[in-house]
Symmetry: C2
Subunit: 348 residues, 2 copies
């Protein structure tokens, strides 16, 4: 049996020249800027042009481009490895805003001619702005290309045991590293969202909180406080909080070391390598935080890859699921009852 696994992620510019077109693609997404098409393209052009110089400066601090594609390819290879016993398994990165983008990935997958396709977002927590945007783009392109193999979608896996185990292991080491400077405070820091997106029913914030709670259950009495907070705010809208910046300031006032845990990214992005490692570290220093430890993303941690493999196996094993208009079959993460894709039409 030939199995294709589509691993969805944002994508990131691979060099200075890619920054502006990457931003244009990002701000052209109706899931990101929610205005009519003609206005969105105008806004995307304006915003990407205006933001490009600063963004190029940000990427210059990590060598000019994003390491997201190599990191994601490492995940595809590790996952293929774990699923070899199922037959000819190939995992494909499918990026939303930079290459290999959805049309290229769909073409490659069609050429591979799989018997089954598993759609596996590299977003543990479901959001309309990430997961649904990627799956929508996929659906459109797959239909256009006439990709007909049965598909199963993993919508989200905020408390998947392998994911949580990997996260907890990394947090534990981070707490140990910070403990010399006092009782650490764990800041579970996720990419934020405009408040109105959450109010409209996006389950992201709730799922992020479930992830943090599951990690803390595994960690048990680790001798550290914890809080969930949100980073990366841009634009004029009110975002969900508390903000990671505010939590850093509070830790400074309280004089406690912080352990910053990116729990919604599963590989390194500019948001971890620049925002957390440089900008927020600087903030922490200015705020008098006695130690600032940033925990790596789960990346190719064996427990995390095992978790992804378990999800893919579950998706492939399950042949009955709610029938959906496009014949696509979905499955929720095992043990996960609050999945938004259960509800009719709400998720995607």
């Amino acid at each position: 049996m030939r199995i294709a696994i589509a691993l969805f992620n944002l994508g990131g510019p691979d060099g200075p020249d890619a920054v502006e077109p990457f931003l244009f693609n990002l701000f052209s997404d109706p899931a990101i800027i929610r205005v009519p098409g003609f206005l969105r393209r105008f806004l995307a052009r304006t915003i990407s042009r205006r933001r490009a110089p600063k963004a190029r400066g940000i990427y210059a601090r990590i060598g000019g481009g994003s390491p997201l594609l190599p990191n994601t390819l490492a995940q595809t290879h590790a996952l293929e490895e774990r699923l070899r016993d199922l037959g000819e398994v190939r995992a494909f990165p499918v990026m939303r805003y930079w290459h290999p983008m959805t049309p290229e990935a769909v073409r490659d997958i069609a050429q591979f001619a799989p018997d089954r396709i598993v759609l596996l977002p590299l977003y543990p927590q479901f959001s309309t702005t990430t997961t649904a945007s990627s799956l929508d783009a996929w659906r459109e392109e797959a239909a256009r290309a006439g990709l007909a193999a049965p598909m199963r979608t993993l919508c989200c896996y905020p408390v998947q045991p392998g994911f949580i185990e990997a996260l907890a292991a990394l947090v534990r080491d981070g707490v140990e590293a910070a403990r010399a400077k006092g009782r650490p405070r764990i800041l579970f820091s996720a990419h934020g969202l405009p408040e109105k997106v959450v109010k409209a029913g996006d389950p992201y914030q709730w799922q992020v909180e479930q992830t943090a709670a599951a990690a803390m259950r595994v960690l048990g009495d680790i001798g550290a406080d914890h809080v969930v907070c949100y980073q990366s705010r841009v634009g004029p809208l009110k975002w969900i909080g508390p903000s990671t910046e505010d939590e850093i300031a509070r830790a400074g006032k309280d004089g406690v070391p912080v352990v910053v845990v990116p729990l919604a990214f599963v590989s390194e992005h500019s948001e971890t390598l620049v925002e957390l490692d440089i900008e927020y570290a600087e903030l922490a220093h200015e705020a008098g935080v006695p130690a600032y430890v940033r925990v790596p993303t789960v990346s190719t941690h064996p427990a995390f890859i095992d978790g992804l493999a378990t999800l893919a196996r579950a998706a492939l094993a399950r042949d009955t699921a709610d029938p959906l208009p496009d014949g696509e079959r979905r499955i929720c993460a095992p043990g996960w009852s609050g999945c938004p894709c259960r509800g009719p039409g709400k998720a995607a």
Copy 2:
């Protein structure tokens, strides 16, 4: 006090066009090809031209270029963060074969005008082909630039506790992931070397074995066998062994799962992302190895970064050391008595 920390590594091409010049730089290094200068440049040109198409194909599988620079920059930022209490601390990547290369890094460091400089190779195990080559290039350029701040060199740290703790934590998770398929065999896989380099006194192989032994001491009775082996052989010379390929074949014959641990790289290279994750995984499959788990490199694991910070602190705290001709001060990793830089002139 202004402190500069120079973090040495190989460097890797940042895109397809960089592959051939990167190879040319690599094969031009007298530490790599040990023949007279005029012949070496000729050989470097010939070899790099001949190998470039294949190498471009290798890098294409991880997105076109190496993620080494972004990974290294993440390490510099994490390390700066851990050393903030010492004053104005900046860490600089100093790459041997691709940008930012030694002359650029020396220029940047001179501009920073540090009071102290710590030379910290991102090679835990000392080799004439890596550490000494980097330090030689550094010395030459630093002298040319008149960089006069007191310098301390960390020559190697094969059993540094933080490094070993990070490695052991990752191995433990890898063994857990493989255990379902039988009693795992841990393959500690290091980049190989020609046998004659080791016979000429290079301590690399011995130090690699020390690293593996230290990790196994921390892991205790983990229910897995282990072996040290060597990957990445190229060229006509006899290399040290056993080779990782042979060990994979043996695991196939014995029907045991393998856990592959890159213990001489501290960040992801083509040798981990392509050779281990794709090529050797394929070998393992063909050899009938029931499970193949590759453990990530220590990268920005908090225990590893803590270890680097401890080394830097020790180097800075120690003002008396063997006086050396160039006024440079050296220090061996604490607790490490077999350091080659103790011997007169042997190491560098």
